[in-house]
């Protein structure tokens, strides 16, 4: 089963998870495939994901689950009281979650509280994370595919865009935060002040004198 693919079916997937504890992200990302089952062959770990691999390897060897290359899952409690299960490697694209894991804040069966982000937004964010697990591989074809994915991913309504901004800011997922900030900038540039105020709900608060002055000030002679 792939990670959540349609935002409309997010709620459905979450209900499924609650009742049957299914994993959210199941597709084997490259990092996990290369991970050795015993912890002595660390030289085989690809450089790009070495830190998370090492943490993963350590976590698995500590708990003794080395038999079948079972992926470690994390359980998160969203702000709206739903449990979100996600593969640890995907979740650790969030620097906040990564630091919590590395500081050993969550044991085997502990649930990590994410009080600022709803389950729906968490799932969206992890969908981005899963797609970007192989970041830095340098493969041009993959980079183009990612660019196209990003463009589609960030083409959402303003409320969702704001949710993604706040969520990626809180969870510290830099790539997604940059993508979302750039999208807002793209939505603003080139629009008239009236349009910008309308879309972003900004109140014009100039006094008549201030307004006259700001309109008198220089504009470009040509665009």
């Amino acid at each position: 089963m792939a990670a959540v693919t349609e935002t409309e079916s997010v709620d459905k997937k979450i209900r499924m998870m609650n009742s049957s504890s299914e994993e959210v992200a199941v597709e084997n990302p490259p990092a996990i495939n290369h991970m050795p089952e015993d912890d002595s062959a660390s030289a085989a770990i690809p450089a790009g994901n070495s830190l998370s691999d090492q943490v993963m390897a350590a976590a698995i060897s500590e708990t003794g689950e080395t038999g079948e290359g079972e992926k470690k899952n994390l359980r998160l409690m969203s702000s709206d009281g739903k449990e979100v299960v996600v593969e640890a490697a995907v979740a650790m694209k969030s620097q906040l979650i990564r630091q919590m894991i590395e500081a050993d804040c969550a044991g085997e069966s502990d649930v990590i509280n994410i009080p600022n982000v709803t389950a729906a937004v968490l799932s969206l964010i992890f969908r981005y994370c899963e797609k970007h697990l192989g970041d830095g591989d340098g493969d041009k074809a993959i980079a183009n595919d990612l660019k196209s994915f990003d463009e589609d991913f960030i083409s959402v309504d303003l409320d969702t865009l704001y949710d993604l901004l706040m969520g990626s800011n809180y969870l510290d997922v830099k790539g997604l935060l940059d993508l979302a900030c750039q999208k807002v900038a793209d939505l603003i540039k080139g629009k008239s002040p009236d349009e910008i105020r309308r879309i972003f709900n900004i109140e014009k608060d100039f006094s008549p004198e201030e307004e006259e002055e700001v309109n008198k000030e220089n504009k470009w002679a040509f665009e």
């Binding site: 900030c181 002040p193 709900n201 470009w220």
Partner: protein
């Protein structure tokens, strides 16, 4: 006094700032009329620093250019039609304008200035504070190199012009200009 409204209502200001700082420089004049906070933000030195910090600052080249003879030609054309003997087109004073070329994205823009840019105007930039100075001497009618001079400071951020005061003894054509931080 009413609370200041957020830069982007619904977002904390630090996140909003990260978004606004990604808007290319050529759109900044259009941001000033939005509201007080945007007007002040676009001109603030801190905004310039933030753009440099997140690597969205652009390299801009300011040029004083003599515009092609179109304006001069039309003046000469009118005079000819009226049957008067007139000055030849190349004696009509050329019109100068400030152009901005963005090295970062290859875009060109022409700046509207509060008064005509005088002949032989020079641009000089002061890096700290993001200011461009345009200084020039305006010839009096009928003479080249007359006594008048005009100087302006253009605050690059947001395209705001301010008149610079130049004492009479420093009036004159600026043939070249250079700035350095000592």
């Amino acid at each position: 006094m009413a609370d200041e409204q957020a830069l982007l209502p619904g977002l904390p200001d630090d996140v909003a700032l990260d978004c606004i700082a990604r808007i290319p420089h050529r759109f900044h004049p259009g941001l000033r009329p939005i509201c007080r906070r945007w007007r002040d933000l676009v001109a603030a030195p801190s905004f310039r620093c933030h753009r440099q910090r997140i690597n969205t600052a652009e390299d801009l080249i300011f040029l004083v250019q003599a515009l092609g003879g179109a304006a001069a030609e039309s003046t000469a054309g009118d005079a000819k039609d009226s049957g008067k003997t007139t000055a030849a087109p190349d004696l009509c004073p050329p019109i100068y304008a400030i152009s901005i070329y963005s090295v970062t994205d290859g875009s060109w823009h022409r700046l509207a200035s509060p008064e005509p840019v005088p002949m032989f105007a020079q641009c000089a930039a002061v890096m700290r504070g993001g200011r461009v100075f345009v200084m020039g001497a305006a010839g009096e009618e009928g003479s080249v190199g007359g006594g008048g001079y005009r100087g302006w400071i253009l605050e690059i951020q947001g395209g705001k012009w301010r008149r610079a005061v130049t004492p009479a003894m420093f009036a004159g054509f600026p043939y070249s200009a250079a700035t350095v931080r000592l």
